[in-house]
Amino acid sequence: MTVMNMIEALNDAHDVMMGRDDNIVVMGEDVGYFGGVFRVTAGLQAKYGRTRVFDAPIAEGGIVAAGIGMALYGLKPVAEIQFADYIFPGFDQIFSEAGRIRYRTAGEWSVPMVIRSPYGGGIFGGQTHSQSPEAFFAHMPGIKTVIPSNPYDAKGLLIAAIEDPDPVVFFEPKRIYNGPFDGFYERPVTPWAKHPQADVPEGHYVVPLGKAAIVREGEAVTILAYGTMVHVALATAEAEGVDAEVIDLRTIVPLDIVAIEESVKKTGRCIVLHEATRTAGFGGELAALVQERCFYHLEAPVQRVTGYDTPYPHSMEWTYFPGPARLARALKAVLED
């Protein structure tokens, strides 16, 4: 066990897997000599060489497409998109190609590839360094989407993603790279060091895709969250003294529907929490599933607590961010109902 922040844990996952499998190559903007703008790939080029870890041209479409070609050859590319806000030039290659090649070739070819990208707000990054586009990817057949919330999961999930036979989009909440963030932005920042999930085993281990984690048990209401929002949910439940069960989904496709159903059938109330914009966000899917499958157990409508349907405004970050104040109001509503 070593204490790691999320960046170190992700870096370690690369290192562990590259040491085990020569077919893993890492590419992306600034990931080579420099080690990535968030340092996730630091040291990998020096250790594994320039033909396994290299800078890519600033062309996200090209990065994804080249990765697909490498995967078709038999390599396991792990591509970094510098910010999730910049993944869209690669959208067509992910949606129309990576997600469909196994199907359209009846299994003759497949695309085992990981597309990593720092994601989410909370760092005053403005409109184009703050977005949470997971819903787009959740709507793509053939694509798995993963969003870790702590160093232990980050390493275990990234290893699982690298070992997965299908294309995986792996979003890393950049606000919690260096420490858990619970949305109480006026409080001093806390490092991972003090956090139990920062104890990261050395070497290889897996956190399976498609398994959620119940990070807080409770009877009064179920809060479904992922990424940074898991910490917001935990802190708000404490602050409000609500007996909430908090589920960290970890993977949104495939979803751990069993964990969700069991919890909501127990609590009878549910809140879906995400940072992404509301309309047609993944919260809609979750709310729809919960009412489809737990309708007769629900004592109140499923509430969505989300970002607003506007671009992410630079200076008004804390008014925009779905933090404890927003969640607290929803908790009150769903419990009073």
Partner: protein
């Protein structure tokens, strides 16, 4: 700031919208097309600096002259058996296309696309490549499969989306895939295969392999961002890949001027990316073979990519959904000055004394018979019109390697829906 007054003396701006020389009702006129003499273009050593090839981006590499003689430094000097095999494969493509076109008209499938007049592009390239080099084609390189002996019945079953379709009815007709023959699955989305081929080639280089990749794209599709991504990555990493641009001068109804061919060539794109480039008579099987072989040797020697423009002409409609007389003069294809690739190679073989009209007639007969019997065979397994591929479990397979719960539930529902229907 520059004085704004003088601006007023300028002519008003106007938008230039490219138009082809002729529209329906006009006379076809190919006189503007400059055709250098066969054999007149030099052949640089495969090891030259990319820049030294750039003059070849503004001419045409040609081997076969009007009388069917092969001349000049690009003559690949192929033995008669290889020449006959290339002729046979081109003819097979034509016979097969004709037959499947008719099958679509008979309602046996939803869609078909011919390669009429462009058969040399794929067939000659296939013979110049090594058998285990990989191809990332478009829908118009069926010649690669023919040349690599893909069974006609397999092709037809895919076209019919029938019970024998290896792709389980999932793909539009002619969107073949055959890993065994290094033929990557065709995508309905134009240009996507181009940067994928570069990625495959990069992987081959990363692993110290010696196989190279070849990919094809149409003139129209070069406008996609994926074209730029492909050539950028190929140039930066000097990937062992052959980037073919099949300039048949038409997209669907829009001509190559709309893709940027009015004032330059597609081969000239090579200059701006610092890679080798060649412009080739696409209806001259020997020129296509020689250029492909030059680029393959260069790539295999770790000297990087080559962009090859294959100058040809789409002699018929874009697809079974298209009627070209709606936007270009009738019979334009027949007047194409670079002629018919099959006729030209045939003339060459005859001129060598290695072929004659009679044998040609017999070959044609034989190939038609092969196609007819393959069709009978294929139709035993059904057609899209009657007896197409239908299997609920298969519909949910291969989205992922394993079927996750949500697809399993949907599969279950689909089965129950089917039961309900049968009642």
């Amino acid at each position: 700031m520059a004085d704004s007054i003088e601006r007023r003396n300028r002519p008003a701006l106007s938008l230039h919208v490219p138009e082809p020389d002729a529209r329906p009702g006009d006379e076809v006129d190919f006189s503007a097309i400059v055709i250098p003499e066969a054999g007149s273009v030099g052949r640089p050593d495969v090891a030259v600096a990319a820049a030294e090839t750039h003059p070849l981006c503004f001419t045409l590499v040609r081997v076969l002259d009007e009388d069917g003689k092969a001349i000049g430094p690009w003559d690949p000097k192929l033995d008669p058996d290889t020449l006959r095999r290339i002729l046979r494969d081109m003819l097979m493509v034509r016979v097969f296309d004709e037959r499947m076109f008719r099958a679509q008209r008979q309602g046996k499938t939803s869609f078909y696309m011919k390669a009429l007049g462009e058969e040399a592009v794929a067939v000659a390239a296939a013979h110049a490549l090594d058998r285990d080099d990989i191809c990332f084609p478009t829908y118009r390189q069926q010649g690669l499969l023919i040349a690599r002996d893909y069974p006609l019945v397999e092709m037809m079953c895919q076209i019919y989306s029938n019970k024998g379709d290896k792709l389980k009815g999932r793909q539009l007709p002619i969107m073949y895939s055959d890993r065994e023959r290094g033929f990557f699955s065709i995508s309905g989305n134009l240009a996507t295969q181009y940067p994928q081929a570069v990625g495959w080639a990069m992987a081959s280089a990363i692993k110290g392999d010696s196989r190279i990749a070849a990919t094809w794209i149409g003139d129209g599709a070069t406008a996609e961002g994926d074209f730029h991504n492909a050539v950028t990555f190929a140039g930066v990493y000097r990937a062992p890949v052959i980037l073919n641009v099949v300039n048949n001068q038409w997209a669907i109804s829009s001509f190559s001027g709309i893709a940027g061919a009015e004032l330059t060539t597609f081969a000239a794109r090579a200059v701006g990316y610092g890679i080798a480039g060649l412009r080739v008579d696409g209806n001259d099987a020997l020129a296509v073979y020689a250029a492909t072989r030059w680029a393959a040797d260069r790539a295999r020697s770790n000297l990087g990519p080559t962009l090859i423009e294959l100058f040809t002409y789409r002699a018929e409609g874009h697809s079974t959904s298209d009627d070209p007389t709606a936007y270009r003069p009738q019979g334009a294809g027949a007047k194409w000055p670079l002629g018919d690739p099959i006729e030209r190679l045939k003339r060459h073989l005859i001129q060598l004394g290695e072929w004659d009209e009679e044998r040609h007639g017999q070959l044609q007969e034989k190939l038609s018979a092969e196609v007819r019997s393959a069709q009978k065979e294929a139709e035993k397994q059904g057609t899209l019109g009657s007896g197409h591929f239908e299997d609920i479990d298969s519909m949910f397979a291969d989205v992922f390697e394993e079927v996750p719960w949500h697809l399993a539930e949907q599969r279950e529902a689909a089965h129950e829906e089917a039961k309900a229907r049968r009642k």
